[in-house]
Symmetry: C2
Subunit: 256 residues, 2 copies
């Protein structure tokens, strides 16, 4: 039974998409069957894998609002064991449309149901907000992976994210666990990076992944080639750290 | 009559708050009277100025929903000519509540009306989305300043932002102009920075500010001291570039 992991943080630019894309690709390279779901209207995860959706084709927007079965919106990628449910900018309008649906917080969970058993992991990339799309991801997920940039504003936002997670655990999804907090864009030369990562470890203890993702320009070059970094430059420090993260996630087991 | 500038981009982490805070502080140091409005529920601009709102005090949430007059939510800051309308996390719930208001896209514009004449500039920090809060900022503004990180994903998001700006110009605010595109976190040593900034200048021409903001760790240290960088370390490259930006914005005139 596939484990569903939401990659979420309302703070913008902390590395959610970079993590969702490279963790999924790394798990696939380890031989796990993975589905990446792009729940962000910006559709960065979709273009990060070199894809884009024509207006006539199906994407997550049609799946959520019910006009298409999810099986028609699953696309293959360059990696054999990685498949994608893409997003498109029409998803920007989805939140307002979803407000009127019955049990609107569980739409994604219901739509994903039929395909979860085919995969070992389903990874969901979330937008930078705590709106209905992110709430849908948190109620569909078994766990939430929280990327955190080693910066002051990113640290500040964590308590609000934890309150939202607690709210979802109480009212929508009692099984939701924290997969871990991932320190991203870590630069050992900067005191700020050292201070923020120390504070995160004090606050979260062993829920902080041992793996840290270093600031590495190859990670931000890869999307312009439409490839995850682990394919664009497998031996760079960024790719190696995401392979280590995948091994750490896999060691937690795939059971939900 | 005060010029209202919205600092907006749905892409997360591109430097909206850092720009809103340091541009406002720089304009104040040049002698202009400035009001900074924190429209982001994350309230980073509020904490970036060393402030936080008690549950009993008024903030933008009460102003938008109409229970408080804006004059009761304006606070002074360390800088004589800079005042702030702070935000708080209760603003996360505002968008859903605003949906049922009459002319919900113009709420901010109506609430700001009484205080605009007291200032030369009103600067609005926006959240990383294209929801009702950002639409309110775009319909209240005379112009929109677009921070753009010199990264691939940030470049990709621009066409969606321009479509939304056009939509607002056609249906909500025909006077809305583009103040300019600001290149942020520029690192001259990286080919990616050079390529992206070249592409932005090809695409936007002279609407790209001459001033570029370099990647400078002092800019990200300043918020942990509750001060804009132009007070925390006025001589660093980050602060100097924001002073240059303020001079460039001021040269466009304060007339709306
Ligand atoms: N470890 C890293 N080293 C260098 N650059 C990185 C790293 N991780 C991410 N980036 C770059 O930083 C920017 C922000 O990362 P990304 O887009 O993954 O964040 P996000 O949280 O998904 O943003 P949003 O909130 O807009 O969804 C991107 O341009 C990305 O290429
Ligand atoms: N020029 C710069 N050099 C170095 N760090 C910067 C620079 N500009 C911003 N930062 C840092 O990068 C991070 C993102 O910037 P900021 O929070 O201002 O972006 P934002 O667009 O407001 O994010 P959000 O989308 O979450 O509102 C912050 O931690 C900030 O301190
Ligand atoms: Mg993203
Ligand atoms: Mg911000």
């Amino acid at each position: 039974m596939g484990k569903v992991i939401a990659v979420a943080n309302q703070k913008g630019g902390v590395g959610k998409t970079t993590t969702a894309v490279n963790l999924s690709a790394s798990l696939a390279r380890l031989g796990y069957r993975v589905l990446l779901v792009d729940l962000d209207p910006q559709s960065n995860a979709t273009s990060g894998l070199g894809m884009s959706v024509q207006d006539s084709a199906s994407c997550l927007y049609e799946v959520l609002l019910g006009s298409t079965d999810i099986r028609q919106a699953v696309y293959s990628t360059e990696l054999q064991d990685l498949e994608l449910v893409p997003s498109a900018t029409r998803l920007f309008g989805a939140e307002i449309e979803m407000v009127s649906f019955e049990r609107r917080e569980h739409l994604l969970r219901r739509r994903l149901g039929p395909v979860i058993p085919r995969y070992n992991y389903v990874v969901i990339d979330c937008p930078p907000s705590l709106g209905l799309l992110t709430i849908n991801a948190l109620s569909a997920a078994h766990s939430v992976l929280i990327p955190m940039q080693c910066e002051y504003y990113a640290l500040e936002g964590l308590s609000q994210l934890l309150r939202s997670i607690q709210m979802v655990q109480q009212s929508l999804n009692p099984r939701l666990a924290i997969e871990g907090v991932l320190l991203t864009m870590y630069d050992g030369r900067l005191t700020l990076s050292q201070q923020v990562s120390e504070e995160a470890r004090n606050f979260f203890g062993d829920r902080v992944f041992t793996t840290m993702i270093p600031r590495n320009v190859r990670l931000s070059e890869a999307p312009s080639f439409g490839k995850p970094a682990v394919l664009y430059d497998p031996s760079c420090s960024g790719s190696e750290s995401y392979m280590n993260l995948a091994k750490e996630v896999a060691s937690h087991g795939t059971e939900s």
